[in-house]
């Protein structure tokens, strides 16, 4: 639960509200007003929030944390108005049966509050000087400039700024947070895949630690998906990481895969593999699948319109016999084998998103053997009797092996070049208090609107294609998504910061 208040926060009363007989842990975070900021003395603070948006976003943040950390109850209160030194600006309390989940959830809430909550603060310095500070720039994510984080990757000619935007727009589901899923998800997160969901119902076991590299000894007993998500958020706060700490089933698989840019099969059984494969085909989503046996592994990318599918390989063979044959030896694992195959899954997924996949990538099984460092590619021809893919009418794009992801994504974030391709648009510079627009250096036809004036923004956006910009390039994306969620498909955000916006004094 999230609340905004202009009254002093009564933390004793809040703590009482969280009391639960089954709770064994209560983790509390308090954000205090301090007497200095960025090397300057501060005498008091004023917080101003855009009420409607702040309450919605705050509620979203606390309920996300409760969903991702089952058993946790979260209460967060944020102050507005004038605060003196030492006063409570934000209070977060999390209770849970066990401490581990409560620590993770509390940390997640304060970082998301800092990153997403539309709150501005005015710092009063001695001598009546005052300046507005956007709180998001104080979050961990706000301090990281994407152009620095991805500098060594975006400078690859095969990636570039446009590739980085494609990655940021991508949504990837990783099923299985084990030996394959840990390294796969790690590289997808650090490469800037904008939305990453980890699905795994399991809990961390001691015998997982030698190969499942997102987990530490402290995590034993905690939900894999939740711990892995927290670890990835710390690794790259610039991307959205979600945890689905339950099984993928016939009942939920469609909702999980629909709309994804790609899905990774990092599971250890044929039943889930077939379930994912068929759901991905139906939803038009490519599936990047891997499996290992001791020192050997295999990798398959199944593009949704391609023949030579999972059924061509293994259909007609009884599922139970496949499981028995595949697991006949009780499961010893050479850790680098799952590491290598998981990293290969990440590489194939990034190639799909960036348009770098070769026709052979989508029509071959790659075999790897770490004992003799050999690799082999086997072409997967269509089985003309395949009950699944033989009925597919192949398009010309599928026949030449080039599979385009463009049709799957309706881009929110656009580069300047992509904006030009849109034709005439209304560009809006969203200004925070104190900021000004230098019209001479702004794109033609740029209109300045106060960030908090959602009504005016909706009014302008209703007239036609609209591109939002702001000084840091973060809030504009958040507002574009908010307006899209209201059913306005013509709204976009410009990738990156708009230098024509001048900061306040």
């Amino acid at each position: 639960m999230f609340e905004l208040t202009d009254q002093p926060i009564d933390f004793a009363a809040l703590r009482t509200r969280l009391a639960r007989p089954d709770a064994g842990a209560c983790v509390v975070f308090e954000g205090w007003v301090r007497n200095h900021h960025a090397g300057k003395p501060v005498s008091r603070l004023e917080y101003e929030a855009f009420d409607e948006l702040a309450r919605l976003e705050g509620e979203a943040i606390t309920s996300e944390a409760e969903q991702e950390h089952p058993g946790c109850t979260v209460l967060c209160v944020h102050r507005t108005g004038s605060l003196g030194i030492g006063e409570l600006a934000v209070w977060i309390g999390v209770v849970s049966p066990h401490r581990h989940a409560a620590f993770l959830a509390c940390r997640q809430v304060i970082e998301e509050i800092k990153r997403r909550l539309p709150v501005w603060k005015k710092e009063h310095h001695s001598g009546n000087l005052a300046e507005w500070v956007n709180c998001t720039t104080e979050s961990v994510a706000g301090r990281l400039a994407p152009e620095n984080y991805y500098a060594r990757q975006a400078s690859l000619p095969e990636v570039g700024a446009a590739g980085q935007v494609r990655l940021a727009e991508a949504s990837v589901l990783v099923v299985g947070a084990g030996g394959l899923g840990c390294p796969a998800a790690l590289y997808l997160a650090t490469s800037g895949v904008g939305r990453l969901t980890l699905a795994d119902a399991g809990k961390v076991e001691v015998s997982n630690l030698h190969r499942q590299i997102l987990f530490t000894a402290d995590d034993v007993g905690a939900a894999k998906a939740t711990v892995a998500a927290a670890r990835l958020r710390a690794q790259n706060p610039l991307v959205k990481i979600e945890a689905h700490a339950s099984d993928v089933t016939p009942a939920n698989v469609r909702a999980l895969v629909t709309g994804r840019t790609a899905v990774l099969d990092c599971t250890d059984n044929f039943a889930t593999r077939f379930l994912l494969h068929d759901a991905c085909r139906a939803a038009g989503v490519p599936l990047v699948s891997a499996a290992v046996y001791r020192f050997e592994g295999e990798l398959n990318v199944f593009a949704p319109h391609q023949t030579g599918c999972l059924h061509c390989l293994w259909a007609g063979k009884p599922a139970l016999s496949l499981e028995t044959a595949a697991n006949c030896d009780g499961g010893p694992v050479f850790a680098p084998t799952v590491g290598l195959l998981g990293v290969m899954q990440a590489a194939e997924t990034l190639k799909l998103i960036l348009g770098l996949s070769t026709p052979a990538d989508l029509t071959s099984t790659r075999l790897v053997n770490l004992l003799d460092a050999s690799t082999q590619s086997l072409e997967r021809p269509a089985d003309p009797t395949c009950p699944v893919c033989s009925k597919v009418v192949t398009s010309s794009a599928a026949e030449d092996g080039s599979f385009s992801l463009n049709t799957l994504n309706d881009s929110v974030v656009l580069t300047a070049e992509q904006v030009v391709d849109l034709g005439p648009v209304q560009t809006i510079a969203l200004l925070e208090p104190g900021e000004t627009l230098d019209a001479a250096s702004a794109p033609a036809n740029t209109m300045a609107i106060a960030m908090a004036d959602l009504g005016r923004l909706r009014e302008v956006a209703a007239k036609g294609p609209t591109v939002l910009t702001c000084r840091h390039g973060l809030r504009s994306v958040a507002l574009a998504r908010l307006l899209r969620a209201e059913g306005r498909p013509n709204i976009h955000a410009l990738a990156g910061a708009l230098s024509a916006i001048r900061p306040g004094r």
Binding site: G178, G181, T267, A291, E298, G308, V338, N369
Partner: protein, 83 residues
């Protein structure tokens, strides 16, 4: 009497362990992968039923009744599901 032919065989995963080797050159009168696997199962102690396996000939998946030619490279692949 069928002429014998030389083939290059590769085993993957559990078949490699059962066979004790990764690759093998054999001279055989087997006409198809199914016949070849039956021979190898007997001589090498392979326990998986042929119905559960996939085969590739010359870097392309094939069926167990595909005719074999001299010099073919044959890979036997069991189901693998570790993750």
């Amino acid at each position: 009497m069928t002429a014998s032919r030389q083939l290059h065989i590769k085993f993957f995963a559990v078949l490699r362990e059962q066979a004790g080797v990764s690759t093998l050159a054999v001279t055989t009168s087997a006409r198809t992968p199914a016949e070849l696997y039956a021979e190898l199962a007997a001589t090498r102690g392979l326990t998986l039923p042929v119905a559960l396996l996939r085969v590739a000939i010359n870097d392309r998946y094939a069926t167990m009744d595909t005719p074999l030619s001299p010099g073919d490279r044959v890979v036997f692949i069991p189901p693998v599901a570790g993750g």
